[in-house]
Amino acid sequence: MLPRLLILAAGLIVLTLAIAAAGSPQVVIQTFSTRLLGIFIEAAPFLLIGTLVSGLIEAFVSRELIARLLPRNTFLATGLGGLLGFVFPVCECGVVPVARRLLNKGLPVPVAVSFLLAAPIMNPIVVASTQAAFGWSAVFWGRFLIGGLVAVGVGLVFAFGARPEDVLREPALPAPNPGLTLRVHLPARPSVVARLLQAAHLATGEFFEMGRYLILGACLAAGMQTLVSQDVLLALGRGPVVSVLVMQALAFVLSVCSTVDAFLALAFAGTFTTGSILAFLTFGPMVDIKSTLMFLGVFKRRVVVYLILLPLLMTLLASVWLNLNVSL
């Protein structure tokens, strides 16, 4: 709790200082509020849809179903694991417990890893919000292509001999920590109405938990657009490598839910390279502060390092290559 409050306080202080430095506070606050509300109003409904769907899945769908849907062949299953998000749209916050459960159920490690990394990108809600933000553009297609390839690629790295007991933390295996268990076996099969109410309740909680990241991210994006001059942003955002690193760091720190990160990326699209926007939209959903914390609760440290570094390097390579070789 303390770090979050510190981040919040630091943000507010920086914002106040910046407003004071920028001259007319009234003008700055007006522009800032328009930009903040613009992102929030566009993104909040998508976040709402995401949390509702996740609540409904939680209340109605048994997780074992996922394991049954997959083919036996490891390579085929790893590829399909990357597409499972279309059947079970979960964002990065919902995916870790699901993946852990699947591993415990005997799903091969590479399949679970590709599901873990791809599901926050490869799902219908993210498709809809990315399309709303970027249209049918190169960014839209690139996000799903690179995201899918990197997720399956990292999954295949784990295809070489990794068994569940090699990747999961000891206590996670036999008796999962109750804080992270999913209510799969609902006692005495509650009625549909009871489950709907439960779904609404879960959605409410998740909207607040995730909404916080969205709003802090929107504050940062709006503050940057309002206070930092175009020239500075261009200087930072035009370097084919620097821009990618900046956007990856931003994606990691902001931890914005993948259903709405496209609207934040939009704020950078005018000044940053297309490759860096794609890095933000592919690396962010796979790895950020909150997913790292969840990884650490489930996987061994060595595995977490792989789960962070492999997507980092792969999206970095893909984005820099795009910046240098393709004019988008």
Binding site: T31, I41, G205, F208
Partner: protein, 255 residues
């Protein structure tokens, strides 16, 4: 479940009720932006359905949350010690989610205006490409600032615009570098929401710029004449008629 916390957990807490209130407030706020038309200050009108969807859902979630709190018995509290539900959310989370609601309620709604124009980005060069060429077959008197910039971009000979008649709507933008008797009639172009809004503008020559403060919405009529503006050769609208108009219902142009 492993550590039952019987009666130390007061229920329902203030934070729980605030959570319901924020959900309710968000529902009312989304409904208000739709009803008042201020929604188009923030997002492209084609996404109005998003707000129309969100408003009732927020109200329902807020209502259900309040109902749960109202009917909750202490024993039921223990059922919620599972998954992501650890009782009421923290004050930090509440404050953060309340922030856009407070900003929306307390700060009067205005579209992006002259204060948000970054002079170095004013050419709008990035946006102008592409577009709908069918627009250029319409009556040029109906063209917007964006249509004219597209036509300019597509043309190889700027002098072809000499003598062309135009009728432009936009807000006034001036800065210290502008020559006397000149301003730019400006619009923001938005495809999704204000996060991607960028200014586009055409220079106008009008004798009485002193009477036109920044952000004044004007309808200006005139004829283009090639001239030097901000160091570039550019068609400048020589205004013969100018009237101040109220801010339009859709302040942004949609590409």
């Amino acid at each position: 479940m492993s550590q039952p916390k019987p009666d130390t957990h007061p229920d329902p807490t203030l934070r729980d009720w605030l959570q319901a209130a924020i959900l309710f407030g968000l529902g009312l706020y989304f409904a208000y932006t739709l009803a008042s038309g201020s929604l188009t200050n923030y997002i492209n009108a084609r996404f109005a359905w998003l707000a129309a969807f969100a408003a009732p859902v927020f109200l329902i979630l807020g209502g259900l949350h309040a109902y749960r709190l109202w009917t909750r018995s202490p024993e039921e509290d223990h059922d919620q010690e599972d998954g992501h539900d650890h009782g009421p959310v923290s004050w930090g989370v509440l404050a953060t989610v309340a922030l856009p609601l407070l900003v929306g309620v307390l700060i009067p709604s205005r579209p992006l205006g002259a204060d948000a124009v970054d002079a170095s980005a004013l050419t709008g060069a990035g946006l102008i490409g592409g577009g709908d060429s069918a627009v250029l077959e319409r009556d040029p008197l109906e063209w917007t600032v964006l249509d004219w910039l597209r036509a300019l971009n597509a043309s190889s000979d700027l002098s072809a615009f000499n003598g062309q008649e135009a009728n432009l709507l936009g807000f006034v933008y001036r800065n210290d570098q502008f020559p006397a008797e000149h301003f730019m009639v400006t619009r923001f172009v938005m495809s999704c929401c204000v996060a991607d809004a960028a200014p586009v503008a055409m220079p106008v020559r009008w004798p009485d710029t002193a009477g036109l403060p920044n952000n004044t919405w004007v309808q200006v009529h005139g004829v283009f004449q090639l001239g030097e503006f901000a160091g570039n050769l550019f068609p400048i609208l020589q205004a013969d008629a100018l009237e101040t108009v109220p801010e339009p219902e859709h302040p942004y142009l949609y590409p």
